[in-house]
Assembly symmetry: C2
Homo-oligomer: 132 residues x 2
DNA sequence: CTGCATCCAGCGCGATACTG
DNA sequence: CAGTATCGCGCTGGATGCAG
């Protein structure tokens, strides 16, 4: 679905807020500190653990492991172990993971487009409301 | 921008990950526990503080205040005080706030569409990996 | 190379009580 | 009705060390 034009969410009644729970669950995943970076890093195809780690640069090993595992649990990342020596583990987006890319990139574009406006609004706000 | 078809984010090189920082900042906002629910609640027009609170139902007064304030700071919510007695305060989405609705709803639709698949993937994963 | 366990600091957020 | 202040718990996430 989500064909061409209009979006089909209901108006602001309370049943809408019921819908928000799964949405929130997902957004919490996507909005956590690293998921989006990982989606981006895996955009071009399979990558190895330390390759991803280097690409992101500032992520700790712990958080990379944890985030990858929860994304694997969600079914958006596939983990493949090659029993070589030393071991090699590849991660890649599943179909579900790739389908997530589009809305995520849309939100990313929004963020990039409006970053300046937001920063400016914040400065203005902080000027009027010194440490409020 | 974000005209019709394809998205224009760069491929998975490292400069992309630079872009991720502002994106992450925004997603952290959007992905926090309440922002989306508030965007949804304000979708139809201005609402009063306790009206929003009732609509969401489970939000604490503290978090509603804090989230509204940070959204106001971001420039996505406008706060209007009517000096009546008792006081009345309306909150509404600004143009920026409304522009956020579209990508947020897109992600919401994704979440709704794929919730079942995700839940199923999680069950399957948990079955294979008992409390791992 | 990959990835788990442990320890620990910080803050997100809810509960509660109080003000104009 | 709208908003602030305080307290406390639990989770997030970084650092470090160990193991296959």
């Amino acid at each position: 679905m989500s064909q061409g034009g209009t979006l089909m969410l209901p108006e602001h009644n309370d049943s809408l807020l019921e819908l928000c729970r799964p949405v929130r669950r997902i957004l919490a995943r996507v909005g956590d500190k690293w998921s989006v970076m990982i989606v981006m890093a895996l955009k071009g195809g399979p990558r190895r653990f330390n390759d991803i780690k280097r690409a992101i640069g500032t992520i700790s090993q712990r958080m990379l492991t944890l985030t990858l595992k929860s994304m694997e649990r969600d079914g958006s990342v596939k983990r493949t172990v090659y029993p070589t020596k030393p071991p090699r583990v590849d991660y890649e987006l599943t179909a579900l993971g790739h389908s997530l890319r589009e809305p995520v990139e849309r939100l990313s574009l929004w963020a990039i487009e409006h970053e300046a406006a937001i920063t400016k609004a914040q400065s203005r706000f902080d000027a009027l409301d010194p440490q409020g």
